[in-house]
């Protein structure tokens, strides 16, 4: 297992895309954090200390109107961890160096978890530094812990889903498309259809019913890990009550675990 981890460490270190993606994510995070912090510092309106930290850490995603940028960029590293193996025919070289497929798969999962978590934690650090640099108030301990854990867990789960898409499809382009489209387009379409059907039903405001399936859209549910207000709140009149951070996180974790389980089973069974 240690050998497989060494392999992954060198694989990540010797690829330019690792540096490019982390560099882009951190640059964006830094620039946007500075811009937002500067605006807030010069604003006369009273904004809660926790809210400022939340907005800085997620670059506005905590408001529920934008995706978590860091997750989408770092998620590509998850796709590449398996996608490169198939795109460049590396998988056979990899498995002749490490024939134990379980070790190869687990090492990829662990390296993706570590890189994604570090990237998410760096974003938190950048947000804190910006608060200090612009003389803004620090968040409460509870909010700091919740937001740090939320963004980190979401980013890790998001990246792992990218890894699973790469292993399932054995096609890097298809995996990137799935990672970008499922959270943004597919889930939005499902939500729109469910809302339309509910809206045209006899009693649109009836509590419960099939509208509850919206709670189980995995990326949307996982978003509750870092959102403090969301568009879902506007849907409460349709009898829809989304999960909180823990429930949403569990839904996303189960979904990603199922993807990884399927990917692992196929990785063991398929020809390399």
């Amino acid at each position: 297992m240690i050998g497989a981890l060494r392999y992954e460490y060198l694989r990540l270190r010797t690829l330019r895309s690792t540096y490019w993606l982390i560099g882009i994510a951190m640059t964006f995070q830094l620039v946007m954090s500075i811009v937002i912090a500067a605006v807030v510092a010069n604003s006369s309106s009273a904004i809660g200390d926790d809210t400022v930290f939340d907005v800085l850490a997620t670059i506005g995603a905590s408001a529920g109107f934008a995706p978590l940028f860091i997750a989408f960029i770092i998620g590509l590293l998850g796709v590449f961890s398996t996608g490169h193996e198939y795109r460049h025919g590396m998988i056979r070289a990899t498995l002749t160096a490490i024939p134990n497929r379980t070790h190869v798969f687990v090492a990829k999962v662990l390296s993706t978890v570590v890189v994604s978590a570090l990237a998410a934690l760096l974003c938190i650090l950048i947000a804190l530094l910006c608060l200090v640099a612009f003389g803004l108030e620090m968040p409460s301990v509870k909010d700091f812990v919740d937001m740090t854990a939320g963004t980190t867990i979401f980013t890790v789960l998001f990246s792992l889903s990218g890894l699973a898409y790469g292993a399932l499809t054995r096609n890097q382009t298809a995996a990137v498309a799935l990672l970008l489209l499922v959270p943004t387009v597919i889930e939005a379409i499902i939500r729109a259809i469910v809302i339309a059907i509910k809206g045209f039903s006899d009693d649109p405001q009836e509590q419960g019913g099939f509208v509850q399936i919206l709670k189980f859209l995995p990326y949307d549910a996982g978003g509750k890990l870092y959102t403090r207000a969301s568009i879902d709140d506007l849907l409460s009149f349709l009898g829809y009550t989304p999960f909180g951070a823990v429930g949403g996180g569990i839904v996303m974790a189960v979904f990603v675990a199922a993807l990884l389980g399927g990917a692992y089973a196929l990785f063991l069974r398929r020809d390399a």
């Binding site: 392999y7 498995l95 002749t96």
Partner: protein
């Protein structure tokens, strides 16, 4: 020293039997050539041997399956793909990455880079390598762990004549050190010089397995060449021997089914003058074509050439 034992290897793709009940042994100290027409299952067999493809049967290296070998590259070096590397990862880093899980140090990485002649481009991007350079990098990866067994699929692909000569000398040298070398190739003349033993397959099935000379001599294509101005006398004498005779383009009589001694005696008894009498061994190519003639998966036709010409 490693004895490779492949037993009952088999693989099907959607009902099509690509490899069927293949068993053979590769002994230490020899180069074993792996021959077969396109699509006969050579690459699939090699992948099955290393557990890369899922199928039937088992292969062991000194009694141990590949996936149970500790630090496998120190035991078995393999080249299976033409360009199995990320195009932007430096060649040296590619090798360092493969070396890491096998506890092979960077000095050995530099050694094999020098061995295959890639020192000047060791820090270059393989995406810009020619096919031959890519092949050299693949060979470097196979040699990385200084393994006692080499499994190489078409290693001479893309190599220039100097490269092919270098590779032949290298593989012969490694076999002479007592290592097991199992190598597939379409270059039959090269294989005739390189290989000690052969495994010949067609449509996934074993056609022949044994020493190269046995394969050639058992092909039944050896002939006796006779030059005589008295063919009218010699012809009936050969017929009486049960041999078949035909005349080639330059007028020599090619006799099959009799030895040079038998032909000479028959000519003498028939009073036919003989100006030349020699035995001609079949080539590996002739023996291979004879053995695989009915086992070609993909066969070109001359008709296709005519159709192309007609369209012009």
């Amino acid at each position: 020293m490693a004895l490779i034992e492949a037993r009952a290897l088999g693989k099907s793709y959607r009902g099509h039997r690509a490899v069927d009940d293949l068993s053979f042994t590769v002994r230490p100290g020899s180069v074993t050539g792996f021959l077969g027409p396109n699509g006969s299952g050579k690459s699939t067999t090699m992948r099955l041997m290393l557990g890369l493809d899922r199928g039937d049967g088992a292969t062991t290296f000194d009694g141990v399956p590949f996936d149970r070998l500790d630090r496998p590259m120190r035991h078995v070096g393999a080249l299976l793909e033409a360009k199995p590397f990320h195009p932007t990862r430096h060649a040296r880093n590619h090798l360092r990455m493969l070396a890491a899980p096998n506890a092979i140090d960077d000095r050995r990485v530099d050694e094999v880079i020098e061995m295959v002649g890639l020192t000047q481009v060791g820090r270059g991007k393989p995406g810009k390598f020619s096919l031959g350079m890519g092949q050299r990098l693949g060979i470097a990866a196979a040699l990385l762990g200084d393994p006692h067994t080499l499994i190489l699929d078409e290693p001479s692909n893309g190599l220039d004549p100097q490269g092919i000569t270098w590779l032949r000398q290298l593989l012969k040298h490694l076999a002479a050190q007592g290592r097991s070398v199992f190598v597939s190739s379409h270059l039959l003349q090269e294989m005739a010089i390189l290989a000690d033993e052969l495994v010949v397959i067609g449509r996934g099935r074993m056609l022949a397995n044994g020493p190269v000379q046995d394969f050639i001599s058992h092909s039944g294509l050896a002939s006796v060449v006779v030059r005589t101005p008295d063919l009218a006398l010699l012809g009936p004498a050969l017929e009486a021997l049960g041999a078949t005779a035909s005349t080639d383009d330059d007028g020599a009589v090619v006799v099959r089914g009799a030895t040079a001694e038998q032909v000479g005696d028959a000519a003498h008894a028939a009073g036919a003058r003989v100006h030349q009498l020699m035995t001609r061994q079949a080539t590996l190519e002739e023996a291979f074509l004879a053995a695989t003639g009915l086992a070609e998966e993909f066969r070109g036709t001359q008709q296709a050439d005519h159709q192309v010409e007609d369209r012009r």
